[in-house]
Every structure is written in C-alpha cells, then in structure tokens.
C-alpha cells in the first residue's frame, strides 16, 4: 500500500471539473433536499409557493448553478463510467457527442422551467 497517495496528477479538465462540481453539489443538493422535503414538504408544494421562492434572485441563481453543475457532474460521470467499460474510437465519439447534446438540452429545458417558475414571461 502506498504511504502517500494522490491522483491529482492523473487528470485533465474533465477530471478537475468533476471534483469542483462535486464540492458545489454537496452544498446545493443538501440545501435542495432539506428545503423541499424537511422545511417545505414535497406534498405541500404549490405553484404559488414555487413562484415565491424562484422570484428571489439569490434562490433563482442558486438553482441555475445547481442545474448546470448537476448536469455536468451527472453526464460527465456517465461518460467516465463508459470509458471505464473500455469504449474507444467511434463509440467514444458517439458517447461524447450524445451525452453533450443530452446535457445541453437538459440545461436549456431546466432554464425554461426556472424562468416559468419565476413567473417571468419572455
């Protein structure tokens, strides 16, 4: 067993951003779960209550950061899992393109939802 272990030299930007988004998500996911299941119970959520929360700029921006970091972390995590399974060449390119597209579409739809929840009409 190694006396000192670090994998910091092993990665590029994808590896680094996966760790940065992990740190952001520890805070935002815990906040999201706590607020919407323990402070406000999910069964009691209404459109008016959601609009009241999302109308606050700080909350709105936190949810956008949550959406973008969760999407990157999740989609990049799936990509890394597929690389671990040994995909390469065309399979790797298809996975990269497909997952990037899926992530982009999720962020676009998530932002549309956030805007609607904030009661902003474009």
């Amino acid at each position: 067993m190694a006396e000192y272990y670090s994998s910091f030299e092993s990665g590029g930007w994808g590896w680094f951003l996966q760790r940065i988004t992990a740190v952001v998500l520890i805070g935002t996911l815990a906040f999201h779960f706590f607020l919407l299941h323990f402070v406000n119970h999910a069964a009691e959520i209404t459109l008016a209550g959601t609009q009241a929360r999302m109308s606050q700029v700080g909350y709105f921006l936190t949810m956008i950061v949550f959406l973008v970091t969760a999407t990157f972390h999740g989609v990049n995590g799936v990509y890394n899992a597929l690389l671990n399974q040994g995909i390469s060449g065309t399979q790797k390119r298809v996975a990269k393109f497909g997952l990037s597209l899926a992530g982009l579409l999720l962020i676009v739809q998530g932002v549309r939802v956030a805007i609607a929840m904030a009661g902003i009409s474009l």
Partner: protein, 135 residues
C-alpha cells in the same frame, strides 16, 4: 511519491465475492450515480409542467395537481426515501473520495466507507416519518 495499486478489474462483476470494501464503494458510487442522473432528467421532465401552468387556476393548475397527484402515491413516497438514501451515500462517499484524492485518509478508506454506509442508513431510517407523513 504516488504508487499504483492493482485492484484488478472491478468492471468484471463476476469476481464480486473477492471485492474489498473499496471496490464495493466504487460499485455503489457508480450505481447511485446512475440513479441520480436518471432522476435528474425525470425531475426536470416532471417540473416542466410549470411551463404554461396558469396561476389563475391555482390550486388546480397543472404543476400543483401533478405534484400533489404523485405525492398521493405511497410508492412515490417510498421511492423518495430511496432517493434520499442514494443521494446521501453518493455525497458521503464523494466526500470520502475527495479526501482520498487530496491524499488524506487512504489508510482508513475501508472504515470511512463503512461509516458512509452506517450514516446513510441512519439518515434514511430517520427520514421515513417525514416522507410518509399524510399519505
């Protein structure tokens, strides 16, 4: 100086009887990650009912009725407990991984995995009354 450690191919799940704590942590981190990313897409799909929901129709607007309808189902409440357990384990094991990446706690990585499991179980059990309230 960093050294390599040959853990064998964890992807070869046929060897699961030989798995050490660290390999189970790897398997569970992947499994919970797949569940969470699947849930993320589903969650945005359900919340999309907010687009075009009519505030004047409240509380009979599409968004509120969809959420209330889902929350009326016992299976949804049970799945929420499962989702909490999955999220808590992924977060605790993720913190464990961040520390290991920083070179901290490798010697105790098996104990920290067991601690992640125990804390996850305790939080999931303690959350049951909250999730099942009023169903």
């Amino acid at each position: 100086m960093a050294q390599t450690y040959d853990r064998g191919a964890v992807e070869d799940v046929g060897r699961w009887r030989e798995f050490s704590a660290g390999m189970w942590a790897w398997v569970l981190h992947k499994f919970t990650g797949w569940v969470l990313v699947g849930y993320l897409f589903t969650h945005i799909a359900v919340l999309s009912t907010a687009i075009g929901a009519d505030p004047a129709a409240a509380p009979q607007d599409l968004y509120t009725t969809t959420l209330v309808g889902l929350e009326d189902l016992l299976v949804v409440r049970l799945l929420e407990v499962g989702l909490l357990a999955v999220a808590v384990f992924h977060m605790l094991n993720g913190i464990r991984l961040l520390f290991i990446d920083l070179g901290l706690g490798l010697e105790r990585q098996d104990q920290s995995f067991y601690a992640s499991l125990i804390i996850t179980g305790a939080i999931a059990v303690a959350s049951v009354p909250t999730f099942l309230a009023g169903v």
